[in-house]
Amino acid sequence: MTTWVDTSCIITVFLALIILSNYRVTAMIRIFALQSFVLSLLPFFLHAYSLSGRDIFIVIVTMVLKAALAPSILFWAIRHVSMRSEIKPILGFGSSIILGVILIAGAFWVSSSLKLPGGKPASDLILPCSLSTVLLGFMIMVTRTRAVTQVLGYLILENGIFLFAVSLFDVMPVLIEMGILLDIFVAVFIMAIVVNHINEEFEKDLASVSRSKMGETF
């Protein structure tokens, strides 16, 4: 089962990289949903031979919250502000990818000297991959100017932390996990509202001041 854990770790990082290089918000949200789906299956792979009710519960809750609810709230948010494409990232897409690759290499390099407390994790890829995902999510937050994409970056960062938490699955009481999930959910919910308001303000501004000037870039 280590192969499956490895594969899901690598897919997680790869999807974060794809999101980083994407220019459409709808596609970014869909890929985020896919990433969360892959992550939510991880407990199955980790405890393939001794599945408990707790595993199944965690899988289902994660899937519903991260892979279904969070993306649909984001979709709802962008539909409300009728914003379809990322307009001006601070960093170009090409340099984003190159920097992302460097970050991944850095994460692997750093985690070679990190030792986890407790038992050995199921796969030695979990730690570097979670670090890479956190860094990539952070980079999306920093280099994208739109509020929705920043929320997405935050969610990807959370996915990285989730990946890290999964490796400490056995020592972690279920309540803490639920707390984390609820935290994310509330954060997305609040941010969706915030995004909505901010973008409505922007819309008003644009409509009154420089609609014609912006014309072609939309």
């Binding site: 192969t3 490895d6 594969t7 690598i10 990082v13 790869f14 990289l17 794809i18 290089s21 897409f93 090409g94 990818i97 190159i98 992302g100 690759v101 991944i104 290499a105 692997f108 070679s112 030695d124 890829l125 570097p128």
Partner: protein
């Protein structure tokens, strides 16, 4: 004696089957478009027709233009000797032949580009500059993949890198190979001007790359160029298939059949990808290639991490 036989049988397979490979892809695309499509053997008919014709040369061209198709076909034929087909070792193999493979490819491309520039048509020059740009990115990706494969199999000869040692590597580092396969597939689509990068079917569009460089070639020359690009596609597929599907039985005939089955599967995959994807805008092709590079580099990092 054996080497002569091996070279001849290698060439026989490559020369005889590469137009069919392109034909299957065209048929799959026609199926997706809801058309009957040209016959599987259309490229054979085209080549036969072209080989019976004379060449027409523009007065502004020089010997470079006449030289290019011959160099192109010769380079791909030499390249096909280095690439192992299925589980067989290539007729020519030595330590470090990956470099030769990459540079023979580069030679073919170089002559194609200067022949396009030699016609002094601005249209062809545009295609040439695009080809040069994309191929220099895809060569970087190709080398990154070769480096990862070399670390996996502890050899720098294509015959052991993608032929013999791959089944072992899937057990040890399947995830790394998954990344390599994804990245090599993008390289295959780019190098052979398939759809997300370039449309092989259009002849007069501003975004095309490969076809535009063939516009001034005619007759036998055009036949050489078309044959060379069909063989190139076959060779790239031949690199990819043994990595994806490393089944070795030890019986030569059965191995050949397995390899050909894999090639058939890959041609269907290429056809489906080409039918379901739209061509990327020209300035986004660079991003696609950078993602392929990221995949390859990520595979390399994971390989180094796993040790």
């Amino acid at each position: 004696m054996f080497i002569v036989f091996s070279i001849l049988s290698h060439w026989l397979i490559v020369l005889a089957l590469s137009p069919l490979f392109a034909g299957i892809i065209a048929k799959i695309k026609a199926f997706f478009a809801g058309k009957k499509g040209p016959s599987y053997f259309q490229l054979y008919f085209d080549l036969r027709r072209l080989f019976m014709k004379n060449c027409v040369y523009s007065r502004s061209t020089t010997w470079v233009f006449r030289f290019a198709p011959i160099v192109n076909l010769a380079a791909v034929l030499v390249l096909s000797l280095i690439i192992p087909l299925g589980s067989f070792k290539a007729p020519v193999h030595f330590s470090g032949d990956i470099l030769l493979a990459a540079y023979v490819l580069g030679l073919a491309r170089f002559f194609m580009i200067i022949a396009a520039l030699d016609t002094s048509s601005s249209f062809e020059g545009m295609g040439a500059s695009r080809e040069a740009f994309f191929s220099c990115l895809s060569e970087m990706v190709l080398f990154m993949n070769f480096i990862t494969l070399a670390f996996l199999t502890h050899s720098i000869s294509l015959s052991t890198m993608i032929g013999a040692d791959i089944p072992m590597s899937w057990k040890m580092a399947g995830t790394v190979l998954l990344l390599v396969v994804g990245s090599l597939f993008i390289v295959l689509l780019t190098e052979n001007s398939r759809i997300p990068v370039d449309d092989p079917d259009t002849h007069l569009e501003l975004t095309m790359i490969h076809e535009v460089m063939l516009l001034d070639h005619s007759g036998v020359d055009l036949g050489f160029m078309l044959y060379a690009s069909a063989i190139k596609l076959f060779i790239f597929a031949g690199i990819l298939v043994p990595i994806v599907y490393p089944v070795q039985t030890g019986i030569p005939l059965l191995d050949t059949l397995i390899f050909l089955g894999g090639m058939l599967g890959l041609s269907i995959v290429i056809g489906v990808v080409e039918s379901t994807m739209a061509r990327l805008r020209l300035n986004r092709v660079r991003n696609l290639l950078l993602i392929a590079f990221a995949l390859a580099f990520f595979g390399f990092v994971v390989k180094m991490w796993k040790g």
